[in-house]
């Protein structure tokens, strides 16, 4: 017989994005500055006559994939045919997140469109591929046979993306062969898509491609201070936006704060951003509605195994501890789960004691503390004072690593306010205090 504690422990699972309609889902949009991607990204697609290309950004582990799965369901219920793929990470992911070029993303799109739109005539893509086949055959050292009408063309695209991803030695050569021809590839894809549009299942009129996990592309900055993110999303935006369908790309939160943020806005419109759940107000007061959402996230995981449990007395020793947990998470759902698991590791039975939670917080804090480079403490001290950030590399880096968190809310005049704070765990470190003490405006 497995006890409730073990069941709850395993239910607090940071691995799985929630499927739409999962009872564990808590709608936190109100405390995320009314960010609703169904309203934002979804409605734009459903209403628009033109093809759209939108970006979706957010902190790692904030719930992007969960939200995208909800969006997908909404789109499917509203006349869209959705091709959703996780470009990085799944068993047959297409992209090496360290070394990505825009063409890799394009090839991945081609492959997944071919796989999902089986009714459409792949001839334009077969032709495009056949023109490259002999040269590719030499580089990839496999026999490539593309028949004139090849229903298996998707598998050749898959093989090319797999080789680019997994075999760095061949990566460069393949790119040299293929990427001078991306414009014709986009043209071929669009011919294919045009045919597919006529053959969509009944009730479907729009084609939507969602490329998830692209936010996992690790930012790499070259000697000139140019980042690979800028290269992919800005310099090559023509191609990324060039497909005749609706596109949604996930991007890391740091991209939104590119030094070229204005260029990004020109090309993609305002990126949709999933901020943290606001557990504190900009003046540092605990924010009850946000805390309440975080409590609900915990409760939903507890209830199935311990109905009617009280967070304040059964799960935790006191109400203070519940608040402490929610504040320490900074309004970040995965952080909440992690802290909770760490705390449960430190007790043999419920309720969680003050000592266990402090220990869990100290452990997690130590991890954050060590992610901060010595010269970044001064930056953090500034952000904590001014509650705002600059569009430069140190701030982007700290955002990417969740040392700086973004919050949003609507003020009394219904104007959207964005503000930033240092991760609450970092604020009580000696390093932060030392930097804060020497802060000069």
């Amino acid at each position: 017989m497995v006890d409730a504690l073990t069941q709850i422990y395993n239910a607090i699972n940071p691995f799985e994005p929630l499927e739409p309609d999962n009872p564990l889902y808590v709608d936190c949009n109100a405390e995320r500055g009314d960010t609703d991607i169904i309203l934002g990204l979804g409605r734009e697609i459903v209403r628009s006559d033109r093809f759209t290309c939108q970006l979706f950004a957010g902190h790692r582990g904030a719930g992007k994939s969960t939200e995208l799965l909800r969006l997908r369901k909404y789109l499917e219920e509203n006349g869209c045919f959705v091709v959703y793929f996780a470009a990085v990470g799944e068993e047959d992911g297409d992209i090496d997140p360290q070394d990505v070029e825009y063409g890799d993303i394009l090839l991945a799109c081609a492959r997944h469109l071919l796989e999902k739109l089986t009714e459409a005539d792949p001839q334009p893509l077969v032709n495009w591929f056949r023109d490259r086949a002999i040269a590719l055959q030499e580089v990839m050292q496999t026999e490539i046979k593309v028949d004139s009408v090849d229903v298996g063309i998707a598998k050749w695209f898959a093989q090319v993306t797999a080789t680019i991803r997994a075999v760095p030695s061949q990566r460069r050569k393949i790119r040299e062969l293929v990427y001078p021809h991306t414009i014709t590839l986009v043209n071929a894809l669009n011919e294919f898509i045009a045919d597919a549009q006529h053959k969509l299942p009944s009730g479907k009129s729009k084609l939507v491609v969602i490329a998830d996990n692209l936010d996992r592309i690790v930012p790499i900055v070259d000697d000139q201070g140019r980042s690979n993110h800028d290269e992919i999303y800005l310099d090559r935006s023509e191609q990324l936006r060039g497909l005749d369908c609706h596109l949604i790309y996930t991007v890391p939160i740091s991209l939104v704060y590119s030094s070229r943020a204005n260029d990004l806005k020109d090309r993609y419109g305002n990126p949709e951003l999933l901020p943290m759940i606001m557990v504190q107000t900009p003046d540092g007061q605990s924010h009850a509605p946000g805390i309440h959402k975080m409590r609900q996230v915990v409760m939903k995981r507890v209830e199935p195994y311990w109905p009617n449990a009280s967070l304040e007395t059964d799960i935790f020793e006191s109400a203070d501890l519940v608040e402490m947990l929610c504040l320490a998470s900074g309004g970040h759902v995965r952080e909440l789960m992690l802290l909770l698991k760490e705390a449960i590791n430190r007790v043999s039975a419920f309720p969680i004691t003050a000592k266990a939670l402090r220990r869990a917080i100290a452990e997690t804090r130590d991890t954050y503390r060590r992610t901060v480079n010595r010269d970044q403490w001064a930056v953090l001290a500034k952000v904590a004072r001014v509650r705002n950030i600059d569009n430069d590399e140190p701030h982007r880096d700290l955002l990417f690593r969740r040392c700086i968190l973004e919050y949003r809310y609507y003020d009394d005049n219904d104007a959207l306010q964005c503000w930033y704070d240092v991760h609450p765990l970092l604020k009580s470190t000696a390093e932060f205090k030392a930097a804060d003490a020497t802060y000069k405006p």
Partner: protein, 391 residues
């Protein structure tokens, strides 16, 4: 203020036993896939695995130990093969650091500066980190075991920066710091002088953390021409890092200092001591060699060099190094004593016994040490040993 709730004055002392119990609970409770990270030295890791095997008989446990760099960086594949052969509930994974040391070495050969190689410059991603981050979903979907990564501190830093998505999925991280005062206090006094050593050792953990930052602010403000001052601040900072048990950071300070002033003999020596404490003996020897270049008759350096050689099992070279120490300081008791250890480990008992007498003459404390020292296990079988040390 909300931060008050997260800020408490009394320091939370880390208790290794509590930490172990927490790890044990996590292992006992995790059903199916899970990721745990344990920060510890190699020896400590072995002890932890041993103990878990005894304490958790209900779970099937296996160990995957890398002793060298994983050439293609495909950690996922190796774990998969191990679990396919032996599907267990808990898999301990050791030795990821080899793939990273190798990586840092490669970059050094390519002419990257020390600053660029350090994990926080992040110009590049080591292959194993890439593999972990990229295969994250595969780990979840293909394994139903709890994976426990036993890693030294600097690997955690790599994980945070270069495999953040993977690290983010952990169910717990546990820290078993090095035993405090691992290095003989005498060595520290030798390197830093009594006054400086005492001043820094008396500080609390929090105070030292703050002082490290203060020194950093000073370092950032110094003009590049102020070499002497920079080197001195780095030296002090490296002591603070050592006292905080952050050995890798301490080594980094030494490296930066030596980049500025390569002729600083004491820094080469101190760096050798640190690298030895980290178990990076070959690098330690190289560092001692540089110190010797600048002062060939420094007995402490020869002695330290001998210890690193002995740790690698290169006993004859170690003995030669101890002999040099004795040449320059004939009453260097530890050099005599460590020499006995080498002969004993080579099973040359006659020499061992003869030298042991000499060492005990120099200082009676070696009598007691010899009775329990691992290195003398074989020698203690010999009746003559007990005649010398006495019952």
């Amino acid at each position: 203020m909300t931060t008050n709730l997260l800020d408490w004055d009394e320091e939370l002392e880390r208790n290794p036993e509590e930490e172990y119990q927490a790890l044990l609970r996590a292992l006992r409770r995790t059903e199916g896939f899970g990721l745990l990270f344990v920060e510890c030295s190699v020896d400590k890791g072995e002890q932890i695995i041993q103990r878990v095997r005894q304490d958790l008989t209900a779970k099937a446990i296996d160990t995957l130990k890398f002793t060298e760099a994983i050439e293609d960086g495909n950690v996922y594949q190796r774990i998969r093969q191990t679990l396919a052969k032996n599907p267990v509930n808990i898999l301990f994974i050791q030795g990821l650091e080899h793939s990273l040391l190798d990586y840092e070495d490669t970059k050094r050969h390519l002419g990257w500066s020390e600053e660029d190689i350090q994990p926080h410059s992040w110009r590049d991603v080591p292959r194993i980190m890439l593999n972990l981050n990229q295969q994250r979903e595969n780990f979840r979907d293909s394994f139903s075991a709890c994976l426990v990564f036993l890693v030294p501190q600097f690997v955690v830093k790599y994980l945070i920066h270069r495999a953040p998505d993977f690290f983010d999925w952990r169910s717990g991280s546990f820290e078993f710091p090095r035993d405090d005062n691992q290095l003989d206090e005498d060595i520290l006094r030798l390197c830093f002088g009594d006054e400086r050593f005492d001043a820094n050792q008396q500080l609390s953990h929090q105070q030292r953390a703050a002082k490290i930052i203060e020194l950093q602010v000073l370092l950032d403000e110094l003009r590049p021409t102020a070499e002497e001052k920079t080197v001195d601040l780095l030296y002090e900072q490296s002591l603070l890092f050592y006292l905080q048990n952050e050995y890798e950071e301490a080594v980094t300070c030494c490296r930066r200092s030596l980049e500025i002033t390569p002729q600083e003999r004491k820094v080469w020596f101190w760096q050798g001591v640190l690298l030895g404490a980290l178990g990076r003996y070959e690098e330690a020897i190289a560092s001692y060699d540089k110190a010797i270049e600048f002062k060939p008759d420094d007995h402490e350096v020869w002695w330290g060099r001998g210890i690193s050689l002995a740790a690698l099992g290169r006993y004859e070279e170690a003995i030669a190094s101890y002999d040099k120490a004795i040449e320059f300081k004939p009453d260097h008791g530890f050099a005599w004593y460590n020499k006995v250890c080498c002969f004993s480990l080579m099973k040359q008992f006659d020499q061992s016994l003869e030298l042991l007498e000499k060492a005990i003459q120099l200082d009676a404390k070696y009598r007691e040490m010899a009775k329990t020292d691992e290195d003398f296990a074989a020698l203690r079988e010999d009746g003559r040993f007990w005649e010398i040390v006495g019952e």
